[in-house]
């Protein structure tokens, strides 16, 4: 009888990294549907094109540059590509998307050693590159359902309006309900809070998410904006506005929670979310960009190794003083 002598544990979870990535893709389906409904098939094209190109590029590099013959696609690049697409404006064209994807997959991920090795969220690096390289296209916001009414095509986003004209001007144009379901100008995937939350609930049920990050991120934004709301309600806007306008929900639920680029312990995740929340609000209130979600997350990504080192879990049987930090 031929017996395997592989080491224990002999049982392994049926969960795989590939399944995690597929679940993230599934969780983004409501957003894809909502965005297509709001912005038309051009939005669908941008998201799918970005996703397919990212996966193809990533697979080609692993298979032909790294020469890993037994490589089975893990779909992490599809997640990156889809999320990048969701972070874009409808005004970008195909070669701009391709450049963004190349930066995301090659510069932000494969150069560091591929899956799991990168410090910065690849999709956000790609987006940051595009914001700097194509500032006009990336900040041209199409109005919802522009395809039904070709007279007015572009407009300022709610965050753009508040920084120029204050809270009252926002409420003249949009209700909170508009912002919740996504009838506002903005990046393709960020506008519908409802669709994002549905996807998020799916991830929570499946246990596929570092839950502490969105809780602390959004919590910090709400607290921070409440304080400023009390100082000057017309200038700074309501906490609910800051929750629903812009990319906070997309960023907090799907970008900051990227497993590779976020801290490993609960307390580390709490600090990470708080840092991102504070930075987001500082940029929104005092920065020259109306929106600060993606830069905040990128900045906090840089702190992850430090956070992981300082906020280690307590080892059983050791006192706090016995735990060493680098």
């Amino acid at each position: 009888m031929k017996l395997s002598t592989e080491a224990a544990p002999h049982f392994r979870t049926t969960n795989t990294t590939r399944k995690i990535m597929i679940d993230v893709l599934i969780s983004l389906i409501p957003v894809v549907i909502a965005s297509t409904w709001i912005f038309g098939f051009r939005a669908l094209f941008i998201m799918l094109f970005s996703m397919v190109f990212a996966e193809t590029l990533d697979f080609s590099i692993v298979r032909f540059v790294r020469k890993q013959k037994d490589h089975i696609p893990d779909f992490s690049a599809s997640v990156t590509g889809l999320l990048l697409g969701m972070n874009l404006s409808l005004a970008v064209n195909w070669w701009q998307i391709m450049l963004g994807v190349v930066v995301a997959i090659i510069l932000a991920k494969q150069v560091f050693g591929g899956l799991g090795q990168n410090f910065f969220n690849p999709a956000l690096v790609g987006r940051a590159f595009m914001v700097i390289s194509f500032p006009t296209a990336m900040t041209t916001w199409y109005v919802p359902f522009y395809y039904q009414n070709p007279d007015i095509v572009t407009s300022a986003s709610p965050l753009g309006i508040i920084s120029e004209e204050g809270m009252n001007a926002v409420l003249q144009n949009y209700t909170y309900w508009d912002m919740f379901i996504g009838r506002i100008p903005g990046s393709i995937g960020e506008v519908s809070a409802l669709a994002l939350i549905i996807g998020f609930i799916y991830l929570v049920i499946k246990g596929r998410i570092k839950l502490m990050i969105p809780v602390s991120y959004i919590g910090t934004v709400l607290i921070f904006s409440s304080v400023f709301y009390m100082v000057d309600p017309t200038k700074f806007g309501t906490p609910l506005f800051h929750l629903l306008a812009g990319g906070l929900i997309l960023g907090a639920l799907f970008m900051a929670t990227d497993m590779v680029t976020s801290p490993m312990t609960k307390i580390g995740q709490l600090v990470f979310g708080m840092g991102a929340g504070i930075l987001t609000m500082i940029i929104r209130f005092f920065g020259s960009y109306p929106e600060g979600v993606s830069f905040s997350i990128l900045i906090m990504n840089a702190f992850v190794p430090l956070i992981d080192d300082w906020l280690k879990p307590k080892i059983y049987g050791k006192t706090k003083g016995e735990i060493k930090h680098a």
């Binding site: 017996l3 080491a7 795989t16 799991g116």
Partner: protein, 440 residues
């Protein structure tokens, strides 16, 4: 009392339904037994018999050598045919075993015993436990007399009897508690008499409602409490059990007694009873034979029976369906290179794992999902230790607690990227220990 537990852990499939209601069955006496001289943690025992000697069941055949070592007794009545060496699957090295051919039914040789154990002094009982060659039967095989000898200056606040049995498939301790309730309680009282604890608990996982009920009923008028534990692996690991029941932690590098606690497995407790009250040295015990076998169940067997002889009794499934056969359960069990090997005192189960239970999984890079950090019952960061171990940064790995790893395998079990975490830690720990030895 609320349901108790520790921080971390995983939930592997339990698979206990095959055997959980199977009463003990005595297996027929084997024709040969092979008694490892390393049937315990510590130095090998020194053989006292030579080829051709006639031995009785329970007769001392090898004597403890050194402080941490244990006596070995013949588990059948027969003739010594020599000493043969076998692979010890847990170390991979060859160890000597005394081979005894059974020539008749049992003719017992007992050690001194007394129905009323209080006629003995504490020291006398410890000596009986030592003579009987009792070791921890949960699997660690630490000599029990050493555990019972409380070092001066130390005090036992809590005595915990371990009936958690968190490994999948294994049901022997469950069945022990249900079958030998009175005997185990008497065993607890013997231990109580020696170590004089403030409080005694019997820790049982929730998934053994029968055992909990029977124990609770039997302990109604006793000063012993049943602690109901959450069904979670590794709830039965000594340190996690102590944490769950007493909220105390065994100091890093220390023993349970350093936290004022003492833990005995239910089967060990029974063995202590059997030695002190009936004068029987440790030559037989209960075992769960399960998995890919046609007659899964809980059995009594003689220590030193070959695994192949045990499996013949329960008929294993078709060869081509079998992937591996292990001593113990699927989380920490040691794979057997072949079944022509002897059993140990610490064998609480032999599990035949079929191919369908062991999915062929692809290894992906670590995506920092933090599952291993959440699962580690010791508060370690397995993903980080793995990185350090792979880079041979053993000093930093030590600073980050690699030596505190209890090797439960929860991290490897939960890893979605199928990374061999605990396997790496075992190797690195061995290397670190070897280097430390050389430095001394």
């Amino acid at each position: 009392m609320p349901i108790l537990t520790f921080k971390g852990g995983v939930h592997p499939p339990e698979k206990k339904h095959f055997t959980k209601d199977k009463p003990f069955e005595k297996l027929p006496l084997p024709d040969f037994v092979y008694l490892f001289t390393t049937n315990h943690l510590g130095a090998p025992a020194k053989p006292l018999v030579k080829e051709g000697d006639q031995v009785k069941t329970g007769q001392l055949v090898a004597e403890a050598s050194g402080t941490i070592s244990a006596n070995i007794h013949s588990s059948v009545t027969g003739e010594v045919v020599g000493i043969e060496s076998f692979i010890n699957a847990s170390t991979g090295r060859k160890n000597n075993a005394i081979v005894i051919k059974r020539t008749s039914e049992d003719i017992w040789e007992y050690i001194e015993h007394d129905e009323n154990f209080k006629n003995f002094s504490k020291e006398e009982i410890i000596n009986i436990v030592k003579k009987a060659g009792i070791v921890g039967l949960g699997g660690a095989m630490f000599p029990s007399h050493v555990k019972l000898s409380i070092p001066p200056g130390k005090k036992v606040d809590y005595l915990i009897i371990n009936g958690a049995e968190c490994e999948p498939y294994i049901t022997v301790d469950d069945m022990m508690m249900r079958t030998y309730t009175e005997e185990i309680i008497k065993g607890i009282k013997i231990i109580e008499y020696i170590v004089n604890p403030e409080k005694i608990y019997v820790g049982i996982e929730e998934n053994k409602p029968e055992a909990i009920k029977i124990m609770k009923n039997a302990l109604k008028n006793e000063n012993i409490e049943v602690a109901i534990l959450k069904t979670k692996y590794p709830q039965g690991a000594e340190k996690q059990l102590i944490k769950a029941v007493t909220k105390r932690e065994v100091p890093s590098g220390g023993l349970p007694i350093d936290a004022g606690t003492l833990v005995f497995n239910v089967s060990t407790t029974y063995a202590i009873y059997d030695a002190v009250i009936n004068g029987k040295p440790l030559v037989e015990r209960g075992i769960t034979l399960s998995g890919g076998v046609k007659k899964p169940g809980n059995y009594w067997f003689r220590i030193g029976t070959k695994v192949s002889d045990l499996l013949n009794q329960v008929e294993i499934v078709e060869e081509e369906k079998i992937d591996r056969i292990i001593y113990g359960g699927p989380m920490m069990g040691i794979p057997l290179p072949n079944i022509d090997l002897p059993t140990f005192k610490g064998n609480n189960a032999i599990t035949v794992l079929t191919k369908e239970e062991i999915p062929q999984k692809h290894e992906y890079p670590c995506i920092r999902c933090a599952s291993c950090v959440k699962a580690c019952p010791m508060g370690l960061q397995p993903y980080y230790l793995k990185k350090l171990a792979d880079a041979r940064k053993n000093d930093i790995a030590q600073e980050n607690g690699i030596m505190d790893c209890i090797e439960c395998g929860a991290c490897s079990y939960i890893c979605p990227s199928n990374i061999e975490l605990v396997k790496t830690f075992k190797t690195t720990k061995k290397v670190i220990k070897a280097i430390q030895k050389r430095r001394v």
